[in-house]
Symmetry: D3
Subunit: 67 residues, 6 copies
C-alpha cells in the first residue's frame, strides 16, 4: 500500500529513466518493509525550473549563473 | 477548511467529471464532518501515465500489456 | 489507481467518520471516473489547529476569537 | 532543510512573481526559524482553474459567475 | 485561494513561530499575486528527524555527526 | 534537488529501516538521474491504519478481516 512521490526538475527525464525510478522505488520499499509490490504506487512530478527555488532563487536563474 | 487532493491518470477527464468530483467531495466532507462548504478546497492532479507506476511498472506499459 | 488525500483539522474525527470518508471518496471516484475501487487509495491527514492557518491566522486563534 | 510548496491557480504568474515568491518564502523561514537558506526548497504548483474547486464548484465556473 | 505547505523538522517550533509563518506566508502571496487573504490556507507539517533524510542520511544521524 | 516522499502505514517501522529507505531512495535518484546526492531530500510519512483506506475500507478493518 505504500505511496511514493518523486519530484524532479523537468529537464528531459526519459520514459526509460521513469521506468527505472518506478521499478527501483518499488523494489526498495518491498525489500526494506516487506510490502506486497502489487499495491505500491509511485508518482513522478516533473517541475519546471521556473517553479522550483533553492536558496532563495529559481533554478532557472541558478542554471544561468552556474552553467 | 478541509483540503482534498485527488490524483488520477491524465486520460481524458472532462470538465463535467471534474465538476462532479469537486461537488461530490465537497458534499462528502460537509456531510460527514459538518464543515462549512464555503471553505472546502479540492485540487485535482492529472498525472501522465508515463509518470505513474504501480507494482513496479509505468501505467503506460501496463496499459499496453493488459489492453 | 486514484489517490485521494483529505486534510482536516485534528478535532475529534472518529474512526466511524474516517470510514465514511474513505467509503464515500472511493465511491465518488468509482462512479464519476469508472475506476476499479480495489486500487483506490485514501489518506486522511489530521492537522493540529496550531499548524493550520487561514486568512493569516492560526485556526487555534480563530477558534478563540469566533468561538 | 525546510520545504515549502505554494499552490496557486494557473492565471499568468510571471517568472518575476515566482522569483519573488521563492525569495520571500525562503527569507520568511530563514528569519522565523533561523534555518540555513542554502537548504530551503520552494516548489510552486500552478493549477488549472478547471482542476481547482472551492465551495463545491470549479474556479472556472466561479470566475464566470462572479467575473 | 492559494494553498501553502511548509515542512520543517520537529524541533521545538513554538506557536508564536507558527503564527509568524502563517502571517508571513499569507502576506507574501497576497502582496506578490494580489490574492484575497481570506482564502489563503497555510499548513505546517512538523517532521520527526528520524523521518527526514538529506544526502542519503537521516537528519537524526546528521545532527549527531555535526553537532 | 530531488524531493522524495514515502508514505507507509504506521506499523513499527524502525529507525534502521528508515535509514535504509533514505539511503536507497537517494542512491536510486542519484544513479538514474545523475543528481548530486547532497541536495536530495527524503521525507517519510507514517500514516495510522485508521487514516488510510484502500478499496473503500480503512486498513484497520482490512487487517481485522484478512489477519
Amino acid at each position: 500500500m505504500p505511496y511514493i512521490n518523486i519530484k524532479v526538475t523537468n529537464e528531459g527525464v526519459t520514459p526509460e529513466q521513469k521506468a527505472e525510478l518506478v521499478a527501483g522505488a518499488t523494489n526498495l520499499v518491498q525489500q526494506v518493509l516487506d510490502k506486497d509490490p502489487s499495491t505500491i504506487f509511485v508518482i513522478i512530478d516533473e517541475v519546471d525550473t521556473d517553479n522550483w527555488g533553492i536558496a532563495g532563487r529559481l533554478v532557472t536563474e541558478r542554471r544561468k549563473a552556474y552553467g
